[in-house]
Amino acid sequence: MFPFKDAEIGAFTFFASALPHDVCGSNGLPLTPNSIKILGRFQFLKTMTHPRLCQYVDISRGKHERLVVVAEHYEKNLEALLREQKPISGLKILQIAYEVLQGLEYMNKHGMVHRALAPHNICMDQKGHIKLAKFGLYHMTAHGLDVDFPIGYPSYLAPEVIAQGIGKPSDHTQSEKPVPSGPKSDVWSLGIILFELCVGRKLFQSLDISERLKLILTLGYVDDIMTVLAEEHGCLSIIKDLPENTLALLTQCLTYQPSKRPTAAELLCASLFSEVSPWYSPFHKPRSLFSPSLRCADLTLPEDINLLCKDEDTDYLAERSIDEVYYLWCLAGGDLEKELTNKEIIRSKPPVCTLPNFLFEDGESFGQRRDRSSLFDDTTVTLSLCQLRNRLKDVPGEAFYPLLEDDQSNLPHSGSANELSAAATLPLIIRERDTEYQLNRIILFDRLLKAYPYKKNQIWKEARVDVPPLVRGLAWAALLGVEGAIQDKYDAIDKDTPIPTDRQIEVDIPRCHQYDELLSSPEGHAKFRRVLKAWVVSHPDLVYWQGLDSLCAPFLYLNFNNEALAYACMSAFIPKYLYNFFLKDNSHVIQEYLTVFSQMIAFHDPELSNHLNEIGFIPDLYAIPWFLTMFTHVFPLHKIFHLWDTLLLGNSSFPFCIGVAILQQLRDRLLANGFNECILLFSDLPEIDIERCVHESINLFCWTPKSATYRQHAQPPKHTTESNGGSRATSHISSDYQDTSKTDLAREPIRLSDLKSEVSPRISAEDLIDLCELTGSGHYKTPTKKTKPSKPKLLVVDIRNSEDFNRGHIPGSINIPFASAFTAEGDLVQGTTTATLQSFKGRVIVIVGHVHHIAEFAAHLVKVGYPRVCILDGGINKMKPTGLLTVPSPQI
């Protein structure tokens, strides 16, 4: 998108036509409201970026099918020029015509027709260049099908448009699609407008609508349309005096037969523009972030680099793109409906005055007066940016151009930077509503993303603070490491040929996050279908499982106009977090996953785990949709975003912690209830406080030893590419356990039945050594311990008999022989060592000993409510070869 410059933001509103009462679609589901259909189609318009078109920014749905469209806007337009009543001619006309045609040609190339071309929809910017407005109305309303009003203005309608009729189906049951107008109808409208500009007055003003339309239709019977029109309006002499190429242009535009009328593209190449065409260079769309070609290929720096920063007091906000400005405008308290109400564009009657008198059983209502406020008023209201500029007046220029290199620490901090760091400690919800904070974050991310993948590390670092909602789609793609020619890859996948999965996809899509306007629109469904099919087709070893649709939803929502990116993100996400979950037979993967999950519950919350096991409420009953969809099936989109902002920073074992955190929020209710109530509770999950959930899961994650969540069916480590990236500053949160450990002290795969029999997780000897800081050189009392406060303190409990213990044990471990540890009731036998154990309750407890008893011992500890109990994988034998076991010196 281009910089905002001197543009303004305009808004206009209209009503989508109401649906007939209680009519169902062919799939038996209720019809999609027209406003949602329009909203879905509108999204494409946001990608229509061209210097001759007013950029579309946003659409919002109000009450009762009202839509408000936000777009770039200019106060100056051709209507004003006409009002001066001075004929314009010569180069100026040609220039206007050429620029309008440029815009039309770009639209036609994207399969769009303007249809509503009129002087007041042809705006001019400060420099006098043309900007076409409302060019998307015909597209977003499905050629006028979804609105009650006709699109276009009587004087400017092309004859074939009039002849084809309004095509408005009077009865929705026999819905006959209106015949769409072709791109050449715009050329006619342009001809009329140019004619008006040439003669300096509006045409057909003295006639009423039907006479106007009839006159236009009769123009087909005359030989020389120009002369007839000129005579009709008494300006034959002006027309006669026009320069030849202007006259030629008008004649070509006002050709009655559409087949003989040229298209915009043909006109642009015509020789009559030879004077003006050299002024313009062809437009190239700026390259997107993920493209195979060089993004900097067209970059040219001026000879003197100082020229770039010549103007001192520029308006920094004007250098940002319009969607950013609009986003900030909303944050700064902008309210579309209020602005429109203030300008009296929205004039709604009190609802009590518009009630119907009588309703049939089938819902048809009578006695309702037609509400005049629903009439179409195409006035565009300029949104005042005063409030926003006022809000941002203290933001220094540096904030708009932050330095990205790492050595910022020695720079003096300005006052606003302090303020920002103070803002960073506020709750996320408040930060997301803070104008200045978001401005800074958006600019920072925008610049970082422009430098992606070079600045990948810094994106990770900043994402740990938060991800600004406006750039979330790209930021996630960066976090997932999406790279390369994604569009070409996506295009190469066959998404049309029917496959057996189609039926299931077709059933699932209309049930997936349909409260959301975007995802419930037909456009959204089509995109859903394509992305899902692309994934299924391109992953032949995996299959579609119900839940994949939910998983796709957040990516599609964020990258609605970039299916390829949504597909690429999804393809990157699944192997990272859901490796092999979508196998045809995924039971072993899921079973292992759920077992590890129940071990994690026991590890973090023994009381809850005991209760759930007692009532038989196992994770298989509720947690499969959680993990299979990474919680997208459980939460609404806005919560998923906050959850995933953190999830994407974590490794594949982070979801376990989220699961435990959710259970902890429901803890009281779960503990108080039996099996049936628990099932009911989870069938309709109560509201979860997502920010608390995120905090809690990070906390849980820090307490979990890395190897505790080892799964043999997890994604195998990538040996090839990542290994050279030593500079990648990944913390232990983001790197996977499997990625890092390869030694023989690592965990070894065990049979699922064995895993299931153990209540507590195993940890690897390597982890134990690491956690106790038993590295060969340093002692565990070295000061380095202080530098890592996040590492959990732990207690090693040796359960071998005391002889074995004395022969050699892990330093710092205590000895509680298994045989004498528990009473018959299962309680711990009191003693000095058990007292130590008691005093360590709440810290990580590692059970060490001979292989056969440790699991049992751990289970006993969990039973009596000890949290964070884990066992050493392979028992003490694993530790023997390390030479780290010590024999205690005799006590003196």
Partner: protein, 553 residues
Amino acid sequence: MKPKKEKICSKEREFVYKFHAGSQCFELAVPLLFPVQEKNPDHLHGRLMLLHNLPCFIEDDLKRALKQFIEEETIKDYDLEAESALEVVKCTEGSSEKLAQAWTKAYIKTTLEYARPEESSWDEDFADVYHDLIHSPASETLLNLEHNYFVSISELISERDVELKKLRERQAAEMNKVMQELGKTLTDQDVNLVAAQHFESQQVLENKWTSELKQVTTIQKQEYQEWVIKLHQDLKNPNNLTLSDEIIVQPSQLQEPVDARGRMYEEQQQLEESFTIHLGAQLKTMHNLRLLRADMLDFCKHQRNQRSGIKLHRLQTALSLYSSSLCGLVLLVDNRINSYSGIKRDFATVCQECADFHFPQLQEQLEVVQQVVLYARAQRSRKWKLQQESASRNDEEEEKSKNSDRNQSNILPGEFYITRHSNLSEIHVVFHLCVDDSVRSGNMTARDPAIMGLRNILKVCCTHDITTITLPLLLVHVMSEEMTIPWCLKRAELMFKCVKGFMMEMASWDGGVSRTVQFLLPQSISEEMFYQLSNMLPQIFRVSSTLTLTSKR
């Protein structure tokens, strides 16, 4: 014209592409369906490459050729279609006239620019004025005035009641005398005559009072409206601020009988329980539910004995009258649109207790409804006929003839009419839902007309911003013998489930506005029954968890 269009719509054209590989020349021919879907060109070439195993070096060229081919052919289609339309206009006489008229009609009906200027309607202007005033400091004065009018009407009504009572007593005494003489001096005929006379004089007296009441309310309404307009004008003019303290509340002189009635209500104390629920699978919306045991009309009556409460109620109702949070009530009525019997009569009495300063009187509103119903039936039968002509189906005809048998002005179960009120204590809108005797039966289903009517009521609530709706939970106003405990439980379960379903549906209509739904139980229901039902509600609706204020572990 139609067959021609179909031909164009599903046209298949052959896309031919030639390319060289080394010395060999290949030709690719693919049938393409026109008009091409917007998104297709991008996806299409990838598919072609894959399907025909084409070499990658032609990819870009193929893409370009394909795009060009589609563009050209699409333009051709457009031209063809446009010209055929123009041809039709040229050939058919009067078609240009028809087209022009259709366009003109569309413009006039739907666009502000060409629409006929609006005749400013008086009640909408009044609505604006009133809404301004009630949200200004003048609201106090306004309410005082309304109250004074109310008091004077109440006095009139009690005067009427006293007079009627006297008349009835006198007549009763007379009748007694006559009855004693029956068989002696007087015959049955004489008794009948006397009875007829009595009835007639009662009617005369009632009519007299009715007309007097009507006159007074009309005068009051006119005075009131004039006064409101004047006050509004005065307030705009900052110079005179004297008007506002002109009106002081007149104390009502009707304490005694009212108190008696109030005590009577207190005996049957109102039972009430509130719930907060969350609806929706992923995105949840919060709603309030209330279960109460009370009389339907309690929401309409002004409690005269509660001096402080009345004003608050009035203020609340007045403030929201022209706002977008209205209160509605569902009243179950029979199939005739009048106010002669049963709950309809009681409701009409309540309506009369206080003049409506904003909307027409109930009687006038009902007359309008009657006309609308006749008009609606006429529309319907015309549509029926049209459909019959196009597809002459016998079974439908039968149904139609069945329809025409009954009185056109009566309404059917499931249909309802709406009246608007500004003079009721907590209600702005009343839905008069027609039900028949089937509501008493034990095996009502979710497809019952009454339930469907309820659904339509909730839909109207959506489209007209009625955010609080009160409805009879058991779909009856008074209990009778056949309504046993199992009957009540079954009915309540059905209603709870249906209303839950409708509320979830509503969320998709209006995007999830928080609402209040009040379920009303008849006064005569036992306390035990009430608690049984209040236990049932949270099982059907998901009641949100209580906020626990204990600190985290």
